[in-house]
Amino acid sequence: MTQMTSTIPISEQTEAPWVLPNRGIIGMVCLIVAESAIFIIFVVAYIYYMGKSLSGPLPGQVLELPILGTICLLSSSFTVHDAVSALRKGNIRRCTLALAATILLGAIFLMTTAQEWYHLIHDVGLTIRTNLFGTTFYSLVGLHATHVVIGLMMLMIALGLTLGGRVTEAHSERLEVLSLYWHFVDGVWVVVFLVVYVLGR
């Protein structure tokens, strides 16, 4: 083969339209898979240490079902979905309202967690150092709450941009990426709720 000048294969023939998936969505799916693995390890630790605490208090004695927080967080999945579909249709006003509602619901959830922790630490005297229940409970619920905080911050940025008039229909795929993350945070809560508050009690 003689040396050729720089050559790049270019085909004249036209293939079927060349469409590839949105990279934001694929990237977020990858992140969710990686984060799920982290959560699985914390859930496994929680289940593995269930009933192995050498001293009290035990979950059955001190935990109460976080009904309000759960309802708020799960319904925020619907509002964030609504925000995305409104933006896709170009309804900026509705999108803004739905985003604000999502943030409000998420904030209520965080408040209920904060109240629960205050009660446990202040009144019951259960800290992360007390026993294996404290260790696994605070780390698992805390890891989830951290994700809620991160999600809320990103939602607030999105809301700020929407209020500033910077968001148009063209950004609906980006908001969808964020909504995927928020759905994931909700899904994790379902697992945490079942493991910690239903199975663990």
Partner: protein
């Protein structure tokens, strides 16, 4: 089907290098988001750590060369093997393979950059910071307790040795944080590579036409999500234990040391495959080019890679046969470990079938690949031996295990890596590496490798445990350990020649041209070194070997698809 584009001649004139002030060059590299520059920084940083961790290995071998030796103190010896293992896995193996992935994946699929260039730069710098943090422990590890300097808990850091009570000082914290950061960086890069391979392919580059190296980087990156994340989670737990007094691995409060073992090896065993799959990728690209044949059994290769990816997630507890998991657990892990040799065997047969009847050219990269084939086979065979639980009970934590996994890591991965260096160096620098020096490197390194790791099996079979500081004379271990030490020196000489070759060829090497090996994948369609935009026009491909189609319009692959 395709035609050359003379317009490129004009565009590529921008490649002319001008002398610039050094600060400007430094600024360009520090602030770059170009996947090629980031890939090269990954490789350079890994090579520096390769030399450091290699020197640590040589110190270990000097200490063990003769019985009753006191070349280093026992404390220093513990630090040496911990740092050697941690550095080699997290700060040599991972970054060098992801460096190659960064450099090559976009070029091979005809993309202009990775999917997320800024995330790419972030991942690199956070990993690099992790490595620096690990070595900063030599200065900062004393902490308030004045105890310890570098980490000395072993590379898998079993609980409860890592608890604050047993490892006071900050050395273990440096270990934890370094690995946590490297894990974050690795996950970021893996997200990037998967997204790039799925979303950035050029026109016509279907998944079924992707070069096998890209496929293997894709599988490796997917494994990173599910294998590295558990380690990140376990490191978070360990940090909580050490800093705010939680009890995950605190056996005094009911915590379990075995849980750490599970968490570590859920990461630890897939990690071996995370490291070896890119090495398979190199071999998949190099062997066909120097056999002058298309790869044999492309779909089987892809299926075997994906199969290895899945099965490797279910084998971790073969590191733990001695903890007493009971017959059911043992049987499961014996079985899954033996099953993984099936897809691996498929790969070896496919490589042999590619060589079969080919017009084999014994260039330096090809020589390394042939050595890889033999050495990887032996590494796999000792792996099957160790997968049998009763055999494993006898030899767990002996030098036989050390010899086995170094056969994989050095005999397979490092050997394939050297081949990759010789193969892609002309693309990266525009110059060929010296053939003579390459052959010296090859023979010194291979002789050294076999002296070290063939003979390391024997003291293992004779009962020499890993991590011993020294040993009594008269157990029959002395001469074997001496031979192993001499082999290490041969390997070091080989690596020195390699580094010299890298530097010398950069200035004096033959000019390579854009396609010195007459290869077939898209990276060889660009000038060497490729411009920052990679492709002046977006390529279109019609088969797995686009450049073959271009060079052989009379008989293109695309006509057979």
């Amino acid at each position: 089907m395709a035609n050359a584009t003379p317009v490129l001649e004009a565009i590529d004139q921008t490649l002319e290098q001008h002398r610039r002030p050094p600060m400007e060059v430094v600024y360009e590299w520090v602030s770059t988001v170009d996947h090629k520059k980031i890939g090269l920084m990954y490789i350079a940083y890994a090579l520096i750590f390769l030399v450091i961790a290699g020197l640590e290995a040589i110190l270990i071998r000097i200490q063990l060369a003769v019985p009753n030796n006191h070349f280093v103190s026992p404390q220093v010896f513990n630090r040496l093997f911990t740092m050697h293992g941690t550095t080699m896995v997290f700060f040599v193996g991972m970054p060098i393979l992801f460096g190659f992935g960064n450099y090559l994946v976009p070029l091979m699929i005809g993309a202009r950059d990775m999917a997320f260039p800024r995330l790419n730069a972030f991942s690199f710098w956070i990993s690099a910071f992790g490595g620096l943090l690990l070595y900063f422990s030599y200065l900062g590890g004393d902490g308030l307790y004045g105890a310890g300097s570098a980490p000395d808990v072993g590379w898998f850091a079993y609980a409860p040795l890592t608890a604050k009570v047993f490892s006071p000082g900050h050395s273990t914290d440096y270990w934890t944080l370094a690995i946590l950061l490297s894990g974050i960086g690795t996950t970021g890069t893996a997200v990037n590579i998967v997204t790039t391979a799925i979303c950035m392919r050029c026109k016509g580059m279907k998944m079924s036409r992707m070069p096998l190296f890209v496929w293997l980087m894709l599988v490796t990156s997917c494994m990173v999500f599910v294998a590295v994340s558990p380690l990140t989670a376990a490191q978070i737990m360990l940090t909580l234990d050490r800093y705010i007094g939680s009890h995950f691995f605190d056996t005094q409060a009911g915590g379990s040391a075995v849980l750490w073992m599970h968490f570590f090896w859920i990461f630890g065993h897939p990690e071996v495959y995370i490291l070896v799959l890119p090495a398979f990728g190199f071999v998949n690209e190099i062997i066909p080019v120097f056999s002058r044949k298309a790869i044999f059994g492309y779909p089987a290769m892809v299926a075997a890679s994906v199969g290895i990816g899945f099965i490797s997630l279910s084998v971790w507890a073969h590191h733990m046969f001695t903890v007493g998991m009971g017959p059911a657990g043992n049987t499961l892990f014996v079985f899954s470990t033996m099953v993984i040799s099936v897809p691996t065997g498929i790969k070896i047969f496919n490589w042999l079938a590619t060589l079969w009847g080919g017009k084999i050219l014994f260039t330096v990269p090809m020589m390394f690949c042939i050595a890889f084939l033999f050495q990887f086979l032996i590494a796999g065979l000792t792996g099957i031996m160790l997968s049998a639980a009763p055999f494993n009970w006898q030899l767990s934590a002996s030098y036989f295990v050390i010899a086995h996994f170094h056969y994989v890591l050095v005999g397979a991965i490092v050997t394939a890596l050297f081949g990759a260096f010789y193969y892609w160096y002309p693309k990266v620098t525009g110059r060929m590496m010296s053939d003579t020096l390459g052959k010296w490197h090859f023979w010194l390194f291979i002789i050294g490798f076999h002296l070290t790791f063939d003979f390391m099996h024997i003291p293992g079979l004779m009962g020499m445990p890993r991590r011993v500081y020294t040993y009594e004379a008269g157990r029959g271990w002395e001469s074997w350990n001496l031979i192993v030490g001499i082999g290490a020196l041969f390997q070091a000489a080989g690596v020195l020649i390699f580094v010299y070759n890298l530097v010398r060829s950069y200035y004096r090497g033959e000019i390579a041209g854009h396609d010195p090996w007459d290869a077939w994948t898209l990276e060889w369609a660009t000038p060497s070194p490729p411009p920052s935009y990679n492709f002046a026009v977006e390529p279109t491909v019609g088969s797995r070997r686009p450049l073959w189609d271009l060079k052989h319009p009379e008989d293109p692959d695309s006509s057979y698809e």
